[in-house]
């Protein structure tokens, strides 16, 4: 081998190494959090961190956020930052499913899917086709959904067991969140794993993923390369609305109430998980597996903070600060690579 070849091989190796680091570094951080939690427990600062029941709590929380983040990641990847209509989509699909429970379990699920995908299609057309600003538009969309909930249900919350006498349907609905395979693995966790695997496959192994990457990195270039960018962006929003619907069903099943506030906070937590998981807001970078890692880190962090007795509002401040920090580091990294378009 000539010297040049040696150098090329070495460069290839370092780039592979760094890409492994990019993908799995977040899991190293997750492990550090677990060690940190264990340490806190061993010095007596917190109790029950390593308790199986607590670990299960973490997994369940991660499952719900992971479902939302896996879908929203497509929006970020497409270069459109975030879908702020996700919380109200969760609430809307949840309350619709409870309302439709009087016609049976299957209609309830199908109704929620129709409504959720409907929101997704509207987002897709307005943002993909008419190029509306994604943040402003999805924010407006969230207010429209909220308005619909408050108008149709006159500001009431509705409960599955009050809507219908069909005890079997109510039992099925309760079990969306509570069903556990072998008494351990919850249905949301199974759904999340399926969504993450499907999402990762879609993003990294299909022509759709490759074209979405091009669209997210350089929209005009994608257009002039023959990519149907409107379709790509639209699909990202539909996928996001789809996972929000799944989360809406699970969250509503958990709380046993259809209410306007059901999805609150999932927008920001999902974006944080996405960004921590290595998907930059600039689009076209990162992976769904990385986003799952980000979700796990957020779950662990929330749990440890709660065990430490830190209040909800203080937790919000800490999460916000971490988000700002990660975005700043991202921007700096991109700039040092000679690109300042973070």
């Amino acid at each position: 081998m000539s010297e040049k070849q040696v150098n090329d091989v070495r460069a290839l190796r370092t780039s592979r190494f760094s890409s492994i680091l990019n993908n799995f570094g977040i899991y190293a951080i997750a492990v550090l959090f677990i060690i940190f939690g264990a340490l806190l427990q061993s010095v007596g600062a917190i109790n029950n961190f390593l308790n199986p029941k607590n670990l299960l709590n973490i997994v369940d929380a991660v499952a719900l956020l992971g479902i939302v983040a896996a879908g929203m990641a497509f929006v970020t990847y497409s270069g459109h930052y975030a879908d702020l209509s996700v919380p109200t989509t969760i609430a809307l699909t949840g309350i619709v499913s409870v309302e439709l429970l009087k016609y049976g379990f299957i209609p309830a699920i199908l109704g929620a899917l129709v409504v959720g995908l409907g929101v997704g299609v509207v987002n897709a057309v307005v943002i993909g086709k008419f190029k509306a600003n994604p943040i402003i538009w999805t924010l407006s969309m969230s207010y429209v959904s909220l308005g619909i909930i408050r108008f149709v249900w006159v500001n009431k919350q509705i409960y599955p067991d009050m809507i219908t006498d069909d005890a079997f349907a109510v039992m099925l609905f309760d079990n969306i969140y509570r069903f556990r395979l072998f008494g351990v693995i919850s249905l949301p966790l199974i759904l999340m794993i399926l969504l993450v695997v499907a999402g990762q496959f879609l993003l990294k192994k299909t022509p759709f993923g490759a074209q979405l990457k091009l669209t997210g990195s350089a929209r005009r270039t994608a257009k002039f390369t023959g990519v149907n960018v409107e379709m790509m962006v639209g699909m990202a929003f539909v996928i996001c609305a789809f996972t929000a619907t799944i989360a809406g069903l699970a969250i509503t099943s958990l709380s046993r109430v259809g209410a306007w506030y059901n999805g609150e906070g999932y927008d920001f937590r999902a974006v944080t998980a996405i960004v921590i998981g290595g998907m930059t807001l600039a689009g076209g970078r990162g992976s769904i597996v990385g986003v799952l890692g980000g979700t796990i880190v957020i779950g662990l962090m929330n749990n440890i903070m709660t065990l430490l007795g830190i209040g909800t509002f203080s937790q919000d401040i800490i999460r916000g600060a971490i988000f700002i920090l990660v975005v700043a580091i991202n921007a700096k990294n991109l700039r040092s690579m000679g690109r300042d378009d973070a």
């Binding site: 090329d8 460069a11 290839l12 780039s15 192994k205 299909t206 022509p207 759709f208 993923g209 490759a210 074209q211 990457k213 091009l214 990195s217 350089a218 005009r220 270039t221 994608a222 257009k223 002039f224 390369t225 023959g226 990519v227 149907n228 600039a282 076209g284 970078r285 991109l334 040092s336 690579m337 000679g338 690109r339 378009d341």
Partner: protein
């Protein structure tokens, strides 16, 4: 500057260069794109705080860690891209950061007076300083930019291609200004591609190649040919040669094609093995025609037939699948994804072709990408490098590689070698000719007349949305093309 260097993660952009400029001289800096001129000057402007080596201003070592530090040492920069704020008045732009005040408010009269004085230095004394920048022409804006920097009284003034947006008379005026500034004892660094300009105004010239300094000479002791030779590293004698190739069946037939307001009733047939040039002034509808043929924009009437098949109703993706390619004019915005790796870029136009069932795997295309990088001598050769870190010439070659990868039957190239260095241009031209020789039909849209003369088998003259003339190869010269492009329809 003694032994300065700057590394990007992917490339060494400036390697151990010594460079000095004296008070009262105009020092030209030349080199191919990617030779490191701009990076060297950015160092001087304080754009990097991680350069190696030392920089001395007035014999004192200084650490130019930020633009404001550089400014405080009297270093003024005039960039190719304008740095003026569009909706704000000329006066406010000129005096940005040091507007005269009266108490809390801006002293309007004084501001106008100071702005007028600055404008006078660049011969724009008739211009109203209260006009917003967006209302004046581009070359006026360029002169305002120069006035702005001169207004800060720098002791070293760096100009990066200052004449690219200027007309002939304005260039003359600029040279006058430069001469005057030199006589006041200012040190001026002048970066340019135009060698005649350099011989007009420079006292000394430094040539850079591949991140290194080749030489610094007095302008009196060197000829134009010598400078070119130093820039390219080889003689350019072999540059202009045209090979004959056979012409086959028609591959692209355009009939009565119109997009109202842009071009009308266009008829054109391009055969296998043929290179057809399209020549016209900007605004003649050349790019719009290409965009309609490739399917980015819709036609209002007419038909497009690719190798016997009507493709008028198809999406661009389908047309690309059928063998049409369109190399866009703007490589940064419309051609490449600068944040993606080189292989992602090269294979981006053939994602649908690389599908195996549901799976897309660019490993199948990786070998082809490797071969193209070698064929087009793109540097660096490591496909995982980010496209944005490549020099302009290599980016343009990368863009060409992207369309070569699709193995197009018909390739439309819009300004295929704009703003690239002589070496990259040669490679691009060779590749275009090879493509035609292998039986593709090629359309070259260009404002570069020598390029059209060299490449084309015939040239269609486009003016105000119509083809006005078809010039065969034996009629082609720079002068005849220029004349034809400026001749009224029907004349």
């Amino acid at each position: 500057m003694v032994g300065v260097g700057k590394r990007y993660p992917a490339t060494i952009a400036v390697d151990n260069v010594d460079f000095e400029v004296y008070a009262g001289e105009v020092h030209a800096l030349v080199g191919e794109n990617g030779a490191g001129k701009s990076t060297l000057m950015k160092m001087l402007a304080g754009s990097f705080n991680d350069y190696t080596g030392a920089i001395f201003v007035n014999d004192r070592e200084v650490r130019l860690s930020s633009p404001s530090v550089a400014k405080s040492y009297g270093i003024g920069m005039i960039y190719q891209e304008l740095s003026l704020a569009q909706p704000i008045s000329i006066a406010e732009n000129l005096l940005a950061g040091r507007l005269p005040r009266k108490g809390l408010f801006i002293d309007r009269d004084k501001m106008v007076k100071q702005a007028k004085r600055l404008l006078k230095t660049v011969g724009l004394d008739t211009l109203d300083p209260l006009l917003p920048i967006e209302d004046i022409s581009q070359h006026e804006a360029q002169l305002v930019e120069i006035a702005k920097v001169v207004g800060t009284n720098p002791c070293i003034l760096v100009m990066d291609e200052p004449t690219s947006a200027l007309s002939k008379e304005e260039v003359e005026r600029l040279f006058e200004i430069i001469g005057r500034l030199r006589n006041t004892g200012m040190a001026i660094v002048y970066i340019s591609h135009h060698l005649p300009e350099i011989f007009r105004i420079a006292d000394r010239v430094t040539v850079m190649r591949d991140a290194k300094k080749v030489a610094t000479r007095n302008i009196k002791d060197i000829s134009r040919e010598e400078i070119v030779q130093m820039m390219v590293g080889k003689s350019i004698k072999e540059f202009f040669q045209k090979e004959a190739h056979p012409i086959g069946k028609p591959l692209l037939e355009v009939k009565n094609l119109s997009r109202w307001g842009f071009f009308h009733h266009i008829d054109m047939t391009v055969h296998a093995g043929e290179i057809v040039g399209i020549c016209g002034l900007s605004g003649a509808g050349r790019s719009e025609l290409a965009q309609v043929i490739c399917g980015v924009e819709k036609a209002d009437e007419g038909s497009i037939v690719l190798d016997g098949e009507n493709i008028g109703g198809l999406s661009m993706a389908k047309r690309v699948m059928k063998g049409l390619g369109y190399l866009t004019e703007d490589r940064k915005l419309e051609g490449l994804a600068l944040r993606l790796a080189m292989d992602d870029n090269i294979l981006s136009a053939m994602i649908p072709q690389l599908r195996h069932g549901m799976i897309y795997n660019n490993r199948y295309g990786r070998n082809m990408a490797k071969k193209l990088v070698k064929d087009l001598s793109i540097y660096p050769t490591d496909l995982s490098r980010t496209a944005g870190n490549l020099s302009g010439g290599n980016q343009q070659k990368l863009l060409l590689a992207k369309w070569m990868a699709t193995n197009p039957k018909v390739l439309i190239l819009d300004e295929p070698s704009r703003g690239v260095d002589v070496g990259a241009k040669m490679t691009i031209h060779d590749t275009i000719e090879r493509l035609a020789k292998e039986g593709s039909a090629v359309i070259v849209i260009s404002s570069d007349l020598p390029e059209l003369v060299r490449l084309s088998d015939r040239v269609l003259i486009m003016r105000k949305g119509h083809f006005t003339r078809n010039m065969e190869q034996n009629e082609l010269s720079e002068e005849s093309l220029l004349l034809a492009a400026n001749t009224e329809v029907g004349a």
